[in-house]
Structures are given as structure tokens and as C-alpha cells.
């Protein structure tokens, strides 16, 4: 069975470490915040200029001056810091964020990522995504493994305009967790009940399948 969005978030959360500064993109990445393991502390960075993002506000706490990078009203946790967008991207570009999680349309075996533009469709802009992928050493892409018609999104070469070149080394799809090494995807884990065959079939890029590919487990 393919992973649900929640399971994907849950699996990504296992990559967190205590004391990590993390930037979570919109969509599934945002859900990762709900699965931070107990006893572990993670600080969320919001690229508009907030380190230490808290929960959504209660109706009483709503403050127009307090939003996240998705433009949603938020709160900050005790010990947070607020700064300009230039400072925020200095952190990002300078590699100070420990982990970035973001969605993608396509990823290829050379670590290229396409996530911001589908030619012919309306282009809304890349926001901070290009800065995030260029700045973080440590990025996890979350995406469905293939489109609904079965077309792979893990490619030999991205077909859509890139967000970043050679910057991705970890991908979590609804079918598998893979790493990218030396121009190839390496299958590390598969979703419960998903066969290696199915993953092979839905991966267009070069794929190395180790002898033993453990199944993910979820409580």
C-alpha cells in the first residue's frame, strides 16, 4: 500500500535529530511538525523571518503581524527570534539550517529537482524554494513516486525547469525512501506491502536495489 500523506510525514520525521533547525515547505512537509518524536526538540525556521515557529494561534491570539512563509497566521515559541528576510536567507544560503523538507514535481538521478514551474501553466513563482535547495546540505524531497497515469517522477533527467541542480540526495515518495548517490537512485526502504518490482517499474531513473530492502513500519 502506498503511504498516506500522514505516513509520509511520519517517515520524514524519523530523519529529524534533537537540536535540528528545520525548514518545512508547504504541503506534506508541513505535516512533519506533527510527528516530532517525544523528547526531541526541533526548531522550525520560516523563511519570511522567524526561527522558532509555534502552533497556529487560537482565535484570540491571531495577529496580522505574525505569519509564516505560507502566509498563515502563526505563533512563536518561547526563545524564538524574528529577523529580516535578508537575514533569513543568509541563514538558508549560508547552510545554517540543518534540514529542509520540500515537495517536488520531479527529481532525477543527478539530484536535480523541479518543483516550481510547469510551462504552459500559470507561473506563480519560486518563492524561497530555489534558495532553500541551493543552501541546505541536507534536503529531503517528498512527492508521489509517479503521477496518476503511472508516469515516473524519479527520472534520468528532469523534464521540467529546474529549481536547483545537483542538490537533492534524499527522496521520500509514497512508495519508497531512496537516496541519490553518484548519479543513481538507491532504494533504501519500501512502503509496507509495496514490492521492489513496483518501485522498479515506477522509477524511470537509474535505480540500484540492494539485496535487502526493508519495509517501513508504522505504529
Amino acid at each position: 500500500m502506498a503511504l498516506t500523506r500522514e505516513q509520509m510525514a511520519q517517515r520524514v520525521a524519523r530523519e529529524l535529530e534533537d537540536g535540528f533547525y528545520v525548514n518545512l515547505g508547504i504541503g506534506i512537509p508541513t505535516l512533519v511538525a506533527n510527528y516530532i518524536p517525544e523528547g526531541m526538540d526541533v526548531m522550525l525556521q520560516s523563511e519570511n523571518g522567524l526561527l522558532g515557529m509555534g502552533q497556529f494561534p487560537t482565535e484570540d491570539e491571531v495577529d496580522a503581524d505574525m505569519i509564516n512563509a505560507g502566509k498563515q497566521t502563526v505563533t512563536s515559541r518561547p526563545g524564538s527570534a524574528i529577523f529580516s528576510s535578508a537575514e533569513s536567507f543568509a541563514m538558508i544560503r549560508g547552510g545554517h539550517v540543518d534540514l529542509t523538507v520540500l515537495g517536488a514535481f520531479e527529481v532525477d538521478q543527478n539530484g536535480n529537482i523541479a518543483s516550481w514551474m510547469v510551462p504552459g501553466k500559470l507561473i506563480k513563482g519560486m518563492g524561497g524554494a530555489m534558495d532553500l535547495v541551493a543552501g541546505a546540505e541536507n534536503i529531503i524531497c517528498t512527492m508521489t513516486h509517479a503521477s496518476k497515469d503511472g508516469t515516473s517522477k524519479l527520472l534520468e533527467q528532469c523534464t521540467l525547469p529546474l529549481t536547483g541542480a545537483g542538490c537533492i540526495n534524499r527522496v521520500l515518495t509514497d512508495l519508497a525512501y531512496l537516496e541519490i548517490e553518484n548519479g543513481t537512485f538507491v532504494l533504501k526502504e519500501r512502503a509496507p506491502g509495496v514490492s521492489v518490482e513496483e518501485i522498479k517499474e515506477k522509477t524511470a531513473g537509474k535505480l540500484i536495489v540492494p539485496e535487502n530492502v526493508p519495509e517501513m513500519t508504522f505504529d
Binding site: 520560516s46 523563511e47 519570511n48 523571518g49 522567524l50 502552533q55 497556529f56 494561534p57 487560537t58 482565535e59 484570540d60 491571531v62 495577529d63 496580522a64 503581524d65 505574525m66 505569519i67 509564516n68 505560507g70 502566509k71 498563515q72 497566521t73 502563526v74 512563536s76 524574528i82 529577523f83 529580516s84 528576510s85 535578508a86 533569513s88 536567507f89 543568509a90 538558508i92 544560503r93 536535480n112 514551474m117 500559470l122 507561473i123 506563480k124 513563482g125 519560486m126 518563492g127 524561497g128 524554494a129 530555489m130 534558495d131 541551493a134 543552501g135 525547469p161 529546474l162 529549481t163 536547483g164 541542480a165 545537483g166
Partner: protein, 233 residues
Amino acid sequence: MAGFDKRVYSYEEAMDGIESGMTVVAGGFGLCGIPENLISEIKRRGVKDLTVVSNNCGVDGFGLGVLLEDRQISRILASYVGENALFERQMLDGEIDVQLTPQGTLAEKLRAGGAGIPAFYTATGYGTPIGEGKEVREFNGRKFILEEGLIGDFAIVKGWKADHYGNVIYRKTARNFNPMAATAGRITVVEVEEIVEPGELDPDQIHTPGIYVDRLIQGTFEKRIEKRTVRES
């Protein structure tokens, strides 16, 4: 206006000198921390053919979006231009030239412009459509592209508190692009919620020193919220 007293008492005076064809740098992220009333004054004046530099372009009927109604903007540098149907139509119709710029690069272009740095290298956008036509250069085995600093004829900024001298403090995430915008205008106009006497703000806690500020006005703000997201209390 004598000495360092930057206060003006009407929005008309605040935007005096703005003309068609000028470049306007605007602070704000989404609808948060935007210079609402300075934008309204630009609309009122009806100046056209503006180049706008701003992370976003407001929404239909609010923020920079109001400048679209009378087609006052002909060119925009922004990182994200969704949330705005009128904008999309004008973009698709070719009425607006949109230069999409990564958010961090946009912030840094303004910071550089204000700081007298004509250009800098960044990895952001290398190997993407944003890097096309730009100089590529390798440092320590990694590839970077050259991006230029940027200043505008006017910078319009929303602060929280300021003193007469134009020393400004921002509030929470309404800071965003405002501090860089403030440094990057030939004429920088700041509107704030409260103006206090010089000496009332702690010198250690000034976000924008008054040297960057040419005009200062106290206003009232709607502060519209784009995505009100709440949890159960």
C-alpha cells in the same frame, strides 16, 4: 522639515515627487507589513508605467494589487505572484513584464543595492531558468551565478514605531523585506503606527537607523490577513 525631523503630515507630501516610469521598492511579505497607505497614495496619484520590486504583488483589491486596477504597473520583480486573479490576467495578456526572482536573491539584491555592492555571487538559481544568461563562476568547486544589487527611485516601507529622526522598529514578522527596502530607495518613505520622541527608543534596538529614511508618516492600518489559520483554544 528642519534638521533630522523626517515627519510629514499628509500622504500627498509623503509621496511627493513620484512619477510615471519610476521604480518603487516595497516592503512586505504577502499582506503582512505592507505600506498600505503609501500604496493607496500611489493609486490616487495615477502614476503609470511603474517598475515594482516587492516579494509579492498583494491580492485583488488590497496591497499592491490595487495598482493593477488602473494598470499602473508595467514591470515587477517578485518571487511569488499567486493569489491575484487580476495580476494573472495582466501577466498572461503580456501587460505586465514579470521578472521572477528567488526570494533570498531578491532580499539580497536590495540589501546589496542599499549597501553599495553592485553585484554578488550566489548558488541560488544556478542551473535553473533564473541562471540563464547570467555569469557563472566557480568558487571552491561549486558553481554560482552573478546577481546585481538594486535600488529604486522610491522605497515604501511599513514600520511599527519610529522616532522623529526616522529610526524605525518593526513588529514581529511584519519586518520581512522592510529593512532592506528602507536602504534601497533614492527616497525612502516610511509609514508607522506610532511616532515617538527621539530618545524614547533604545539605540541598541533600532532596526532601521534614520540615515536611510527621508520621510516619515504616522498612519492607521487595516492589516488584512491573507490566510487566517487558527487552532481550537
